[in-house]
């Protein structure tokens, strides 16, 4: 611990020395969309002259800062889908230049063509990163026409879908709970709506989506597999606007505009499904008494005090309601609130301070005189984050602190009247997580870029509470009652993060990365993907932090001025302290849940190929993953490695979009993957009067392969200056492929002396239409 701080201190204190050695001049500013005032994240800023060629990407708030020698330069700013801005500058004293880019109309084939301007994907040392272009989402056909960030990322290499129509996902062999999902920095614990068929991210309100599959930068911590960093739009600070969409099962509306011209803007977006209302209107009697809906609201305001100080407030609230009148009700939802304050200390030092609240709660209620009960559970976090970015000529330093207080209410059962169920309250659990990190994106030479970082993660389980320690036989070996705030158990972990890129030439590079991640919040789930009944537990005296190490190697290539991008990555991952549970474990409302767990290891490896066409009338991408994912637990499968459920050998996705004319565009996507690893019976016998199956090796069998073709078309209505509208048509599973959702075994109906396997398929061919408007 002490050594770590000394190390951190000496690391940090050495920076000013590096910096002061060079007397240079700094140009800084913010890059925005000229029409809406939205800051542009990751825009490329280049400063060039005969001898110098310096470039970097804008940060999460559109800020850039370049320090170099005095002189005459061309300042070029580019961003995908926007026209390039070039201006001559004379750098003799510190300059602040804010750049506004105008959107390139889709059919103008302008895009980017200024020599080596781009090639960002080749030169950036970051690897294992995929970005979703929000404009592409408009065209990709999806189930029931609801465009969805989480479904779009499932088309990327290394990302496997949680199941048909499901927004759950697995990254490079990780489990569904090993993804850190952030919405404006707030953790979203359950990203699923309606049993997982829709995600909590309303695409209208989203500005930027980045998925880190490996080489996670040091400012991210807390999950093993991936970081999905979703950022909301800030709202148009120039003029007021409304846009929305009316779909078959959901409608959405967004309003945005300036509160104080060029100083303050707001954005509010809301969405609600109405499957239940619709079915009632059509007289579907089976749903007449039932509730089945979700809604969510995203809102954000910002206030720019001056060029150096900006305040952002953003929030999300979403709720799902499923109910059967007089019988059963189930609702769950996330709430997040983020307050952020950007302060530019000087043109090189950028600071952001965040205060974040997030909460996920779930309740299920039986409404019945004899057996009524309500079970509530929730997880709530309070976060503080302080992040600094220091821009110097060859370094981009990032360092900061993060603190989180967790509170978990595992289960509160209430019951009334003569209910057969007894009230029960499982003790709340408290924990604090602390993170300190430092990283340096270091341009060693024209060809060699490094991103090195170190993160210190600390977790403490706190009292109050009665804490049991269990032996492997599930017996209590010790029990102690802790008072409020008392430390029950502390864990420290050092997480090195390292990425490097070596540019072979402008168009080719190789990259390598290593990262260690740790995780202290674990989900216990009986289903393979996220479900509202998932149980959250923290690291404790029984549960050790999960640890993941990953190495990856990649080759990146661009051709035709970035018209084609190609990447190949290989990875190998080791996972420690993985969690599974014993046979017959009853996880719900169980104070002894930690006695039901098994601990093991995991390993995952694979190759990911990704090719993208970014220009012309035909755009899209193809991704292919060849991978293996295994787990090993004492007591399962005789202690040998077995395939994890989500181990799918082959995984292929194809997304294509084609502009037919000014008004029509068409799109298609196709997926193919090997079936999930499952356990089929190897024999059978009879006990208790029933055919019972005998199993040998865990997950040694395969479900049938899955494949699906979806098609879509978008028609833009005649545009007026004030009003734009479009129709989106899509057909999900156009070939009506019967993909496996579940397989079970049963006695044959007409010949009970035989058994048969029955496959359930979920969605056949589903057409949908959505009307979108904007004014």
């Amino acid at each position: 611990m002490k050594i770590t701080f000394i190390f951190l201190f000496s690391f940090l204190s050495s920076f000013p020395l590096i910096l002061s050695a060079q007397q240079r001049i700094t140009i800084s500013g913010t890059v925005k969309d000229g029409a809406t005032g939205e800051t542009l994240i990751g825009a490329t800023v280049k400063l060039q002259n005969a001898t110098q060629n310096i470039g970097l990407a804008t940060n999460a708030y559109g800020f850039y800062s370049i320090t170099t020698a005095a002189g005459e330069y061309n300042l070029t700013v580019s961003y995908s889908g926007y026209q390039i801005s070039t201006q001559k500058i004379s750098l003799s004293k510190a300059l602040t230049i804010n750049v506004a880019l105008s959107s390139a109309s889709t059919l103008q084939e302008v895009q980017i063509s200024a020599g080596d301007l781009k090639n960002e994907n080749v030169k950036n040392p970051q690897m294992g990163l995929n970005k979703i272009n929000m404009k592409d989402l408009d065209n990709v056909p999806v189930l029931l026409g609801e465009k969805d960030v989480l479904k779009a990322i499932q088309f990327l290499p290394g990302v496997k879908s949680g199941g048909e129509g499901n927004t759950g996902f697995f990254v490079r062999g990780g489990a569904a709970d090993q993804n850190l999902i952030l919405l404006d920095e707030a953790t979203v614990y359950n990203s699923a709506h309606l049993l997982g068929f829709f995600s909590t991210f309303n695409a209208d309100a989203i500005k930027d989506v980045s998925l880190y599959k490996g080489g996670m930068p040091a400012q991210y911590g807390g999950r093993l597999s991936s970081v999905l960093d979703v950022k909301m739009q800030d709202g148009n600070d120039k003029k007021f606007g409304v846009e929305g969409g009316i779909g078959l099962i959901a409608s959405r509306i967004k309003a945005e505009g300036p509160l104080v011209q060029n100083k303050s803007s707001f954005m509010i977006s809301a969405r609600r499904t109405y499957i239940d209302l619709l079915l009632k209107a059509f007289g579907d009697s089976a749903l007449k008494k039932n509730t089945l809906n979700f809604y969510d609201i995203n809102a954000k305001v910002n206030y720019k005090f001056d060029d150096k100080n900006t305040l952002y407030l953003s929030g999300y609230f979403g709720q799902d309601n499923i109910g059967i009148k007089d019988l059963f009700a189930n609702d769950w939802g996330n709430t997040t609130a983020t307050m952020r304050f950007n302060h530019i200390f000087n043109n090189r030092l950028f600071s952001n301070t965040s205060l974040i609240y997030n909460r996920y709660s779930y309740a299920v209620e039986l409404i019945d005189e004899q057996s009524n009960a309500k079970v509530k559970s929730l997880i709530r976090d309070l976060n503080f984050k302080q992040d600094f970015q220091y821009f110097s000529s060859n370094h981009l330093l990032r360092f900061g602190l993060q603190g989180t207080h967790h509170q978990i209410t595992p289960s509160d059962i209430t019951a009334s009247g003569n209910s057969s169920i007894n009230p029960l309250s499982i003790e709340k659990r408290y924990g604090v997580e602390f993170g300190a990190y430092v990283s340096d994106e270091w341009k060693l030479s024209e060809k060699f870029n490094l991103l090195i970082g170190l993160r210190l993660s600390q977790f403490s389980l706190l009292g109050p509470g009665k804490i049991n320690t269990y032996n492997p036989a599930a017996e209590v070996i010790s029990s102690k009652t802790y008072s409020s705030g008392e430390f029950v158990k502390n864990y420290f972990n050092l997480e090195p993060r390292f990425s490097a890129s070596y540019t072979l030439n402008d168009k080719n590079s190789i990259k390598a990365s290593y990262n260690r991640n740790t995780q202290n919040i674990h989900i216990l789930s009986n289903s393979g993907t996220s479900a509202p009944t998932d149980q959250y537990v923290m690291s404790s005296n029984n549960i050790k932090p999960e640890i993941g190490d990953q190495i990856a190697l990649g080759y990146f290539k661009n051709t035709e001025d970035n018209g084609y991008e190609f990447s190949a990555e290989v990875y190998y991952k080791w996972l420690q302290n993985q969690i599974d549970y014993k046979d017959g474990a009853d996880l719900t409302a169980n104070a002894e849940v930690e006695s039901l767990l098994l601990y093991g290891k995991g390993r995952a490896y694979g190759v990911e190929l990704y090719g993208k066409k970014t220009k012309g009338r035909l755009t899209g991408w193809i991704s292919y993953t060849l991978s293996k994912t295994e787990r090993q637990f004492d007591g399962i499968n005789q202690g040998t490695y077995f395939p994890a459920r989500q181990d799918r050998t082959h995984d292929l996705s194809l997304v294509a979009m084609y502009n037919l004319s000014k008004r029509w565009s068409v799109s298609a996507n196709y997926i193919f993957n090997t079936g999930n690893a499952v356990t089929y019976p190897a024999g059978k016998y009879n006990v208790g009067g029933l055919t019972t199956y005998y199993y040998t090796d865990r997950n040694a069998n395969r479900m049938p392969n899955t494949s699906r073709l979806d098609i879509g078309a978008t028609l833009k209505a005649k545009e007026t200056r004030r009003f734009q509208s479009s129709w989106t048509f899509s057909i999900y599973n156009v070939l009506n492929t019967k993909n496996p959702y579940a397989i079970r075994f049963r006695d044959k109906e007409n010949d009970p002396s035989r058994t048969e396997a029955v496959q359930t398929s979920l969605f056949g061919i589903i057409p949908s239409v959505t009307y979108n408007f904007k004014f």
Binding site: G163, S371, N418, S527, Y680, A682, R754, F763, I766
Partner: protein, 272 residues
């Protein structure tokens, strides 16, 4: 427990009703065929009369549902009070003792010697809890009423109780495994719905005129774990639900099956 089971079933039935385009088909699957395993199914009840221990072998999945009996075993049951009973093979694979009544609180040990391998298991007789009465519970998901049988019993307070139910509809045993405990309902009057899903999981209610026979068993913790594990595997969640495995048996030496010492209470109901 009752509640959780009920929630699970309601959720399954409900999702079934909204997954409007879901469909089922019989498929061919490639299966590994395992070697035959020894299966012991032994019960001692609190009802005076003949007690039965069955010994058979498992068969490969692709074979008929006829299980070869295992003959020539030596089967002995003892209790913790110095008694012992030697079971004799009356028909191949069926080992019986003509007159034996399990006593509450006693622990019985089964010792079966098959081909020089000794298999042992112990189980204790819980205090009896009887069925109070049976009735029909009507569910309404918005469409037609759906009828299900409901067992009422009074759970004794202050002790852990585990139950298993066997339901026959018109003489045919329901394919569901019904196991519950009193973890969340200790000491209460418990109504427990035994969801009937038909002989082939394709029907989800009882019909007027159906004759329902229900046997309630009070079982010990290990036997409960066996049945509860099996009952979880019959669920059918996303991508297959709980990973199936062999339920933890109270018999040693990797024999399949169980040795259950339990009470029996029976009642009959005709669905109106």
């Amino acid at each position: 427990m009752t509640m959780l089971k009920q929630i699970k079933y309601i959720a399954i039935l409900f999702t079934g009703s909204i997954a409007w385009s879901s469909c089922e088909k019989v498929i061919d699957v490639k299966l590994d065929n395992a070697e035959s395993q020894l299966v012991i199914e032994g019960t001692i009840t609190d009802q005076p009369g003949q007690q039965l221990i069955k010994i058979s072998k498992s068969v490969p999945y692709t074979e008929n549902n006829t299980y070869p009996p295992v003959s020539g075993a030596v089967v002995l049951v003892t209790d913790d009070n110095g008694h012992s009973w030697t079971f004799s093979e009356t028909t191949p694979g069926f080992y019986t003792f003509p007159a034996l009544k399990g006593e509450t609180g006693r622990t019985y040990t089964l010792k079966a010697t098959v081909n020089n391998v000794v298999y042992t298991a112990s189980s204790s007789m819980p205090a009896p809890v009887a069925i109070d009465f049976l009735d029909v519970k009507v569910f309404n998901f918005g469409g037609d009423d759906q009828k299900q049988a409901q067992v009422h019993y009074k759970d004794p307070a202050g002790i852990a109780n585990q139950y298993r139910f066997v339901m026959k509809v018109n003489g045919i045993q329901s394919k569901q495994v019904y196991a519950e405990n009193d973890r969340l309902s200790d000491g209460n009057d418990v109504p427990s719905v035994l969801f009937f899903t038909g002989n082939n999981d394709d029907q989800d209610q009882l019909r007027t005129g159906d004759v329902v026979d229900i046997e309630m068993q009070c079982i010990d913790k290990n036997v409960f774990l066996y049945w509860y594990t099996l009952s979880q595997q019959s669920s059918n969640g996303p991508s297959g639900g709980t990973t199936p495995g062999n339920p933890p048996s109270n018999i040693n030496n990797k024999a399949l099956g169980y040795f259950s010492v339990h009470t029996v209470s029976k009642k009959q109901l005709t669905v109106q």
